[in-house]
């Protein structure tokens, strides 16, 4: 009978894909703008200091969230050397969300305590899982041609012997 045949038919489960990303034009604001400019032009990271608690902001910001005060223009240059605090070895691929580039895979990501006390998250150059266990001291390696993208203008952090 017709009704039995209809009931036997499999339902249509479809996947509807939307591939086009939404576009944005974000403003860096004054403080992040200075960080980006210094990174591009001088290959240096800079940040500002809270006038009340004296702690370094990261990233540089107009207001200290801890103290709820306007921070002002007490700018300092960040250290480009630091100590690895923790790392992970990423096996699954990720992508650069702004430019769509595939990031090198696999790669290690680490939290690095810079010598001025600021915690920075970035890539490590060392890709050997065994050697990674011993990495302590690292230094920033800047890309030859920065794109004016702040932290992305740094290629990675390289192991240094001291």
């Amino acid at each position: 009978m017709t009704t039995e045949k209809t009931a036997e038919k499999k339902p249509e489960y479809l996947k509807v894909e939307i591939a086009r990303p939404r576009s944005y034009k974000w403003s860096s604001g004054k403080y992040l703008g200075k960080l980006y400019k210094e990174a591009l032009e001088k290959k240096k990271l800079v940040t500002n200091r809270c006038p009340k608690c004296k702690q370094l902001m990261w990233p540089p910001m107009a207001v200290c969230g801890r103290c709820n005060v306007a921070t002002g223009e007490d700018w300092v240059e960040m250290s480009d050397t630091g100590t690895v605090v923790q790392y992970t070895y990423l096996v699954f691929p990720l992508w650069d969300p702004h430019y769509g580039d595939r990031l090198a895979n696999p790669y290690p990501t680490a939290t690095i305590k810079l010598d001025n006390g600021v915690f920075l998250v970035h890539f490590l150059e060392e890709k050997d899982p065994e050697k990674l266990k011993k990495v302590k001291r690292v230094q920033a390696v800047w890309k030859e041609e920065g794109r004016g993208r702040g932290l992305a203008d740094i290629l990675c952090f390289r192991t240094i012997e001291e």
Partner: protein
Amino acid sequence: MTERVGIVAVAQTKYSPNRADANEGELVYEAVRQVLQETGLKFAQDGSGIDATVTCSQDFWDGRTISSCNVMSYVGHHHSDEDKVAEDSLNAVYTAFARILSGHQDVILVATHCKESQGDKRGIENAAMDPIFLRVLGLDFLSAAALQARRYMYKYGITPEQCARVVVKNRGNAKRNPLAQEPMEITVEDVLGSQVLASPIRQLDSKPTSDGACAMILAREGKAKKLARKPIWILGASNCYETNYLGDRDLAECDALVTAAKKAYKMAGIKDVMNQVNVAEISEEYSYQELLWMEGLGFCQRGEAGRLLDSGVTQMGGQLPVNPSGGMLAGNPTVVAGMARAAEAVLQLRGEAGEHQAEGAKKALVHGFTGACGQLQGVMILGN
């Protein structure tokens, strides 16, 4: 008896087409800083200051999930009680109001921001539609509004000239509001001669792209009286949702607004809105909306809003001035608009609206909405 909830401080940025010089946090801090300075309040965990923060922003506009992270350092919710409300910011004021009425919190900072200059407005609005069923039709809030305008004008005989007179009134009022983005000395002919965007809506029937922020501090009655010389009381508040799918609604009607208004009026003891309310700030992204919303708010019978406008009742100096600030049409971002209306109503009730002050305002009506064709409607009654 439950103590009332008062608004003790309000601040808005100047509204601007493109604040490329500031990120979201820096923008909202311009308003937050003013209300902190005005009240002398600090954030505190021991009940001695601001107990919590309610922010309003929209992830799609900010381009990140948990968009309140964009402003957390700037609005003081580091290690603190924080709540984020999306959609229209009048809902954030409603949330803060309810939190204080709960009796557990006394003082709350409410802050909202939106930078329309940063995002793809039509794409973001399209994303408010069902993702796999409706987005493919390319509808955004403009095209949805055009369908609603057409239906409303046809059903009730509202004319393009009457819609244009809303623009002339509001852009004209904006000339006396120093924070307004685009005050204009224009005529009905200017509006009717402007570019058609989606018929029958023309360029001047719609609001300009806008960036801005607003902040206010709410407190329970006992504290509000100490914190402010002239606290403004929230007498009634409500909201109501329509269905998302436009085909489920007669777009000439605004049932959600009718319901929201009835509930807010009941809470505030308003029986005759035209005689009990002295000034109204109504969110109108498109010119026809001020007329349709006035009907939904019960200012007149259905189809009578055009004639009510023509009679001059809603002009400055009329019985019930509508949008002395210039409204959304003079330039407010979506999201921020509802709270901007509330902030303007507070200035009116304090008698501190300067050149755009309406005479002798005792009670004010505040309206906010969001979504295609006003899917979510919020109404608040404030009094001094």
